[in-house]
């Protein structure tokens, strides 16, 4: 997807690096959080057996979960930093739509998810849709 030109005071490569840092840290956070939840198991079943406290304990005692949340926090601060230098109309759609595609790639590589033609098509459609909607 082509990234539109950034605000005049910021160079193209600086803007690209800022958006890339949001996308990469967000992808790492999403993948680590998903891996944590898969390692914990079905939360609905845990809640049925051990109650809400048991479900919360299962989540907060998982180190992968905290690694995921740390990367999501990093993505949030990278977003704030980027918004300080670039226009919202560039950062929001570009980061939101690119993250969908990088998540699909990372989910296939690291989570071994079966990202078939249907899911690739969906990821690309939603990616372009989010870009058009947010731009």
């Amino acid at each position: 997807m082509m990234i539109p030109s950034p605000a005049p005071q910021t160079g193209f490569w600086t803007a690209t690096a800022m958006i890339a840092s949001i996308v990469l840290s967000s992808t790492a956070g999403e993948v680590l959080t998903a891996a944590a939840m898969k390692s914990i198991g079905d939360l609905d079943e845990i809640r049925a057996h051990s109650g809400m406290k048991g479900a919360i304990r299962a989540v907060v005692t998982c180190p992968l979960f905290f690694a995921g949340v740390s990367f999501l926090a990093l993505a949030f601060f990278a977003l704030l930093f980027a918004l300080n230098h670039l226009n919202l109309s560039l950062v929001a759609p570009a980061s939101a739509s690119l993250t969908l595609v990088t998540n699909a790639i990372a989910a296939k590589i690291f989570l071994k998810e079966n990202v078939d033609r249907r899911r690739w098509t969906s990821a690309v459609l939603v990616c372009v849709g989010v870009y058009l909607l947010a731009h």
């Binding site: 939360l43 609905d44 998540n103 249907r118 098509t121 058009l132 909607l133």
Partner: protein, 144 residues
């Protein structure tokens, strides 16, 4: 990949994922815009903002989003859940059009159609990648 059929309860969780995040953001925005300007010299006013009705409701909705998102990830693939989160953008755009009577450009309508088709596409497929059980994997290793 075997077809994993979701229960109505699980569809409800995905619905909460789609609705809570954009509504939470909207509530936060509504609350913060209504407050007097906050400066870093007076951080206490930022903490006080948390207890105003709109901001508190926004935070509650975002906590609800994160809880339902984590629950969904515990029984569905990341590549299945993420389009549901993106569908929230469509809900906000439709609310803006029909509730707040804000105009939506043809490009945005095209975006709404693409997201809806994409979500419909992935929702028709399996929600979880089927993995062989431990015993099956051990048997496969022994055959090799």
């Amino acid at each position: 990949m075997a077809h994993q059929k979701l229960s109505p309860h699980q569809y409800l969780i995905l619905g909460l994922v789609a609705v809570c995040a954009p509504l939470g953001d909207t509530f936060l925005s509504r609350g913060m815009v209504g407050l007097p300007s906050i400066s870093l010299e007076h951080p206490a006013s930022l903490i006080a903002a948390v207890f105003t009705p709109w901001v508190a409701a926004g935070i509650a909705l975002l906590i609800g989003f994160f809880a339902s998102y984590l629950t969904a990830l515990s029984w569905a693939d990341l590549t299945y859940v993420l389009p549901a989160t993106a569908f929230g953008n469509v809900i906000v755009a439709l609310l803006a059009r029909f509730w707040l009577h804000e105009p939506i450009s043809p490009l945005r309508w095209a975006g709404i159609v693409l997201i809806t088709v994409g979500v419909g596409f992935v929702a028709q497929g399996p929600s979880l990648t089927e993995r062989p059980a431990l015993e099956e994997r051990v048997a496969q290793e022994q055959v090799r």
